[in-house]
Amino acid sequence: MFRPKLDAERPPGYVEPVTTLKSLATALRADLGADRVIDDRQELRTYECDGLAHYKVTPGLVVLARDTADCVRTVKACCEARVPFVARGSGTGLSGGALPRADGVLIVTAKMREIVEVSPADERAVVQPGVINLDVSKASAAHGYYYAPDPSSQQICSIGGNVAENSGGAHCLKYGFTTNHVLGARVVTPDGEVVELGGRAPDSPGYDLLGAFVGAEGTLGVATEVTVRLTRLPESVRTVLAGFESPQQAGAATSAIIAAGVVPAAVEMMDALAIEAAEAAVACGYPPGAGAVLIVELDGPAAEVAAQFAQVTALCEANGATELRIARTPAERALFWKGRKSAFAAVGRISPDYIVQDGVIPRTALPEVLRRIDEIAAVHGVRVANVFHAGDGNLHPLVLFDAAVPGADLHAEEASGAIIDLCIEYGGSITGEHGVGADKAKYMPRMFTDDDLQTMQLLRCAFDPLGLANPGKIFPTPRLCGEVPRKHSANETPAGADLF
């Protein structure tokens, strides 16, 4: 058995001689089976990016893990050879969290797809990390349950990725995020040990390491089994699609609903440009000519929903709704949601390229921030389509550009950065659900002080003293554990990596 030394011998980012990866490949092949290890250059390129496709790095080696034991062996081998590793689920992340390392191993957990147990009596399911989000709900439906966190990517993203990103979704306004629905995880720590965090009952004794692990973007280890909370299906669901002349009015309606003490399951907004894209892509039949639409959904006990639904529609009207459509059938409701859930992909219909941001603002600042985003768009000469979780102030401005036009990407990047600054100015966050990853690490110092970031590093050092688990993500400047803050350290980008 390998026993990692816990002293840091080399800075993270140090590029191993190719021979290290070669011998690692040979050893892992012998250990796990030839079909588990990929080192063919062409095949490796399949894994060069996640959902944020403009960052690309061809991984040094890919391991297709079947079970916890495969992950343990791979992590131990990485540890022994001081080679960094990155976990990957379905690769739908939007912050470059699963961006591989040219000098490292990509551990793919997507093949670990067994739903180990569905226990309605415990309101729990135990799943492997590669299980697709929606499949948990499908497996629970017959028992009258579902898995509440519902990222728009839920048909393809994995539970392991959800746990790492603390993913959200439209219905998180009422039901909370992944972190509120994960009860336990089996984790392979960065030194290759297996630890059970949390359990079948809440409030496990000791530090809440599970709470810290969720949302750590794979920098604290690899999740190989996850226990999630199942939620009882609501007795009644009612959905209204409201058209407004402007996003400002839609924003005011949102604030009025919240101020009335209603907690809808979801409040989602799209502006004119986003509506145009969605119409072009999926013909969702939103009110023609609307400057913005809101989707408001209430769920729960029938009498409760009926009482509050009347309140919600009245508040939409009072705030200038030009049209109200109430879903009469599940099919109509699905069509309302189809326009919203396909919005990112749909933007491809109206622009060859786009950058999606994920900033959060206090909900009450919505009208003002939308106006400022318009100004930013004008200054940088870009178009911005707005799709967002209005209920919790999580914006998804899509900055549109055409990479074929020289300089356009730069303008888009600048506009995008200005929007992030705006979110911080209003006391918000640089990311509400997509994670920091490789993409937003540079923005972290705008939101946190050096001391704040260094405190987060203390946690990382407790789990990963060698800095081998997904290095280069979240933190703008890598540091050795035990190192004095502010000291210089090696450049993160491995030499020879195809980073563009």
């Binding site: 000791g206 530090y207 390491l209 966050s429 920091v436």
Partner: protein
């Protein structure tokens, strides 16, 4: 004898902790002292930092349903009008900081979660005196590690919490309690029937004393129309009675001041199989027991029937013969966390699991 200091601001507290660090003092944080006897007693105390001057609501952004509160503020003094911090405190007078530091919870955790779920941002002074923040003031936020979760339930062993940002909830327009006596053998079926009913209770509590019948009490909150309808359904289902006020035992720990108090975590399907003498949240599987008689044997029985059973409080004589925390998976990793945050082990040394 140990000194007591009571800083009034985060900066003042940081200054004190920097000096304490320089002098190598062992520090214990004290809120209202309501859980003064919880956990294992610290091995060493040179300085007690009292938070009761660190009080007040810094900000209540009603439109955004959030509030920023100083750690020494008594939980039951908070008044947000038509909004609320939906945290029950089983012990009157407890501070916000103490509630977060111990992650205490009450009946309504079924609907609202605990401090862990409601906390969205936190200011903590590290043992070396450094002021640090994590999270923020918006409910949805995944920037950086969620250290708020780590500090929640850390019993003051990782630093001094000075400010907390919470998500608030609207105060519901109406509420009702449905209370019913149930025979112990029927408890499992009754709890399953409540789950099946789709009435979304805010709390499902049971009181199962050592002798006598088991009582179930369900809290329903919402609109007047909705609450009436749901309470009526449950009344019929359980053969119970509907009332505006909870039964006297609702949300109170079952032990007397000098008793042995245990917190039990159990999978929902095993709640009805717990040894008698428990009370608490059958809806989430977090319950409390008062141990009497052969205490080690009763503790062992709870540990066998549950996921965990942690002794929260016990008279000193009993404490010495008990393993207060029981088995704690991941304890090695927890030690490493402590080593990073408090390398000299000066913050409440020995109070926490595994001697941390």
């Amino acid at each position: 004898m140990d000194d007591v200091v009571a800083p009034a601001t985060t900066e003042e507290a940081a200054e004190i902790l920097r000096e304490a660090a320089a002098a190598g003092l062992a520090v214990v944080i004290r809120g209202a002292g309501t859980k003064i006897d919880w956990g294992t007693p610290p091995r060493r105390v040179d300085l007690i930092v009292d938070t009761t001057r660190l009080t007040g609501v810094v900000e209540h952004a009603a439109g955004d349903l959030i509030a920023v509160v100083r750690a020494g503020t008594p939980l039951d003094s908070l008044d947000f009008g038509t909004q609320q911090l939906a945290l029950d405190s089983p012990l009157p007078g407890a501070t916000v900081g103490g509630t977060v530091a111990v992650n205490t919870s009450g009946p309504r955790r079924l609907l609202y979660g605990t401090a862990r779920d409601l906390l969205i941002g936190i200011t903590v002074i590290r043992p070396d005196g450094t002021i640090t923040r994590s999270g923020g003031k918006v409910v949805k936020n995944v920037a950086g590690y969620d250290l708020g979760k780590l500090y929640t339930g850390s019993y003051g062993t990782l630093g001094l919490i000075t400010e907390c940002v919470f998500r608030l909830h609207p105060v519901p327009a109406a509420r009702a309690f449905v209370t019913a006596a149930v025979r112990a053998p029927d408890l499992a079926a009754q709890l399953a029937a409540i789950r099946a009913e789709q009435v979304v209770p805010s709390a499902v509590e049971i009181d199962a004393p050592l002798d006598g019948p088991v009582t179930i009490a369900v809290l329903i909150e919402g609109t007047a129309e909705g609450v009436h309808d749901r309470a009526a359904r449950l009344e019929k289902l359980l053969g119970g009675t509907v009332s505006d006020e909870p039964p006297a035992w609702f949300g109170a720990y079952p032990w007397p001041a000098d008793g042995v108090g245990v917190k039990v975590g159990v999978a929902l399907s095993r709640v009805a199989g717990l040894p008698p003498g428990v009370r608490g949240s059958a809806g989430t599987g977090v319950l409390y027991a008062h141990l009497t008689g052969d205490i080690p044997a009763r503790l062992a029985a709870f540990r066998a029937a549950a996921e965990y059973a942690v002794v929260l409080t016990a008279p000193p004589s009993v404490r010495d013969e008990l393993d207060m925390w029981g088995p704690v998976p991941g304890i090695e990793l927890m030690r490493r966390v402590k080593d990073q945050f408090d390398p000299d082990h000066r913050f409440a040394p020995g109070r926490f699991a595994g001697g941390i």
